[in-house]
Symmetry: C4
Subunit: 199 residues, 4 copies
């Protein structure tokens, strides 16, 4: 397996998972009242679409940053990546559930499902990186040690902050959804800063 | 992040967003009368499919033209691109709404939604280019200044003409839809001419 | 625009259009009788899936053969390709309609719709090639003249045979559907032979 | 046809088929009881999603291993690959049927359909490889004979074990589904070992 073909496959899954999110944004088939107000009331759908698209986009940027440090890939690394991509391709499902139920009495379960998905994804992301950097010894011989430890540090907060947002979901689905959005913004800002400092 | 991997991801989103449009072209499940006439009455669906596919195709050509001028990409540029791709992947939704409602009393809201989507997309497209050319200094050192100012000029009319077409949608959804189609034709012709002159 | 990026985008649309066909193969939601016999009665769905997937696959092979002869691409060629891809991405719709209606009284309209789609696609395919080879002068200087005239000849039968199969559809939808399948087989065999002789 | 473009198209179909699986994971539209328990009762959907995603992922790894041994591709090889990709793009359909019916009286038919799909896919996979290695003489002149015979051996168990799992489906759909999952795990482990030994 070459790095290039793994990247092609991964880029495909990232791009498709992100683009499929729009399938679930839909006007209710039994429309009551004018379309204009129905479109305005769809804001949880738009919000969920933007947060999940941005989250997948950030993960794609991170995946690229990992791949750039590698000299080669091996079979266990490829299968860890398939596990990671399995999680990312799963994201449209909790997104759809969150968008549909966030304003209902069932919102808590939806917010928790969304959180669990991102926690498992974070675990796989961490595993992919830890295996590449330490277990499988796949790094370029001349990979910058500060960059390597910087990436390792950048994975540390993933599980705790998604767990916190998920626990908030037990109390308030709306607050939890808002946190998922803020986490995406936080990652985007820190990633842009990281890129600036590290490249 | 390399230019090549950003292009792969972007090409994926453009291709998927355009191809997903066909999912929304459908014969009504409760068919009244013969299929032949039902298929003929689907013309707003066909029209919306063609206009949105062409619009996404033109944006893909423009995106390529921008990328060709760049020496490198940086993190803010990548995140601006994710925002742009988020808008392009959104296009199937207003397309579906416009096709379904253009001939109904709710057509105005559908036409306005379609217009707003393309206005926001144009704003992101302009931001991507202005950041690349002026803010982020990502251009090739030997980029042709006439090409650069030609691209800058070519983005100027986007927001005004989509705003005009959207405002027409407040009065007549059909006229607005027709304008979206004409704008696509106009862009296709001017892009072909631009390419001729600039390359 | 480079040949490589046009190929990436085209390959994406071909692959997505072919893979989306499976979305329309579905067990009726109100299942009467055992699942086993329902699955057997879905044979028009399977047949339509196989014929359309094979047809798109053959077109992808042909598209590659055209691209291989080119030294460069220009803007009008790119826009002709967007038109061609618009047709190919449209194929899932007539496939779905044909699979659903071929055994009903509305089968004729479905068979005609399928035929018209492939006729228009053939026209665009011919235009793409004729422009590349003769109008736009995009060929490699050292393109083999026998290969070039061989490709030109291979496009000649497309419109007549799809028109014939469509006209048969006015009388019998089943016979028409069978012809679409036979045409795919014929193209596959002649393409394999062509490849053998020409390479 | 170049090896590279066949890989791009194949990677696209693999990635899309795997990512489309999530469309079929859905909360019932008429929800009875709380969402939380409905999400828990969806476990056959999650299980089917994971098994099919992993199965497609493993096939993608195997496809890559085959392609790596080739010096060139020819037209019959390309058409065998289109047949293989047709099978892989079909996988979302039996996955959806299995997930929906595994716990019902119709589970047996669903398990058999899933098995037949994977048997036919295995036959195509074997044909692709046997043609490349022996019929079409497409291998690199310096391909490692032990690698070549290792790949040939690795295809031998495919049809028998999927046939066995399918036959179990005649008696118990759940047991059959469990076997499909175990086969995926077995392939993943043996593939990782194979890669270790062979590279």
């Amino acid at each position: 397996m070459t790095r290039a073909r793994l990247e092609t496959f991964a880029d495909g899954v990232f791009a498709i998972a992100a683009t499929l999110l729009i399938i679930d944004v839909a006007v209710p088939s039994s429309l009551e009242g004018p379309l204009g107000s129905a479109l305005l009331h769809l804001w949880p759908q738009y919000f969920a679409y933007v947060v999940s698209f941005a989250t997948i986009g950030i993960m794609w940027v991170n995946h690229h940053r990992v791949m750039q440090q590698l000299e080669r890939v091996d079979e266990p690394f490829v299968f860890l990546n398939i596990g990671l991509l399995l999680c990312i391709a799963f994201v449209p499902f909790p997104t759809r559930v969150l968008a549909e139920f966030v304003r209902t009495d069932d919102g808590n379960a939806a917010a928790v499902l969304y959180g669990i998905t991102l926690i498992v994804t974070s675990v796989f992301f961490g595993s992919v990186w830890l295996y590449a950097a330490y277990g499988g010894k796949l790094l370029h011989p001349d990979a910058d040690p500060r960059m390597v430890s910087g990436i390792t540090r950048s994975y540390a907060p993933g599980v705790p902050i998604y767990t916190a947002a998920m626990l908030v979901g037990l109390v308030s689905a709306e607050a939890s959804a808002l946190l998922y959005g803020l986490i995406a913004v936080f990652y985007m800002v820190s990633s842009a800063t990281f890129g600036r400092a590290g490249e």
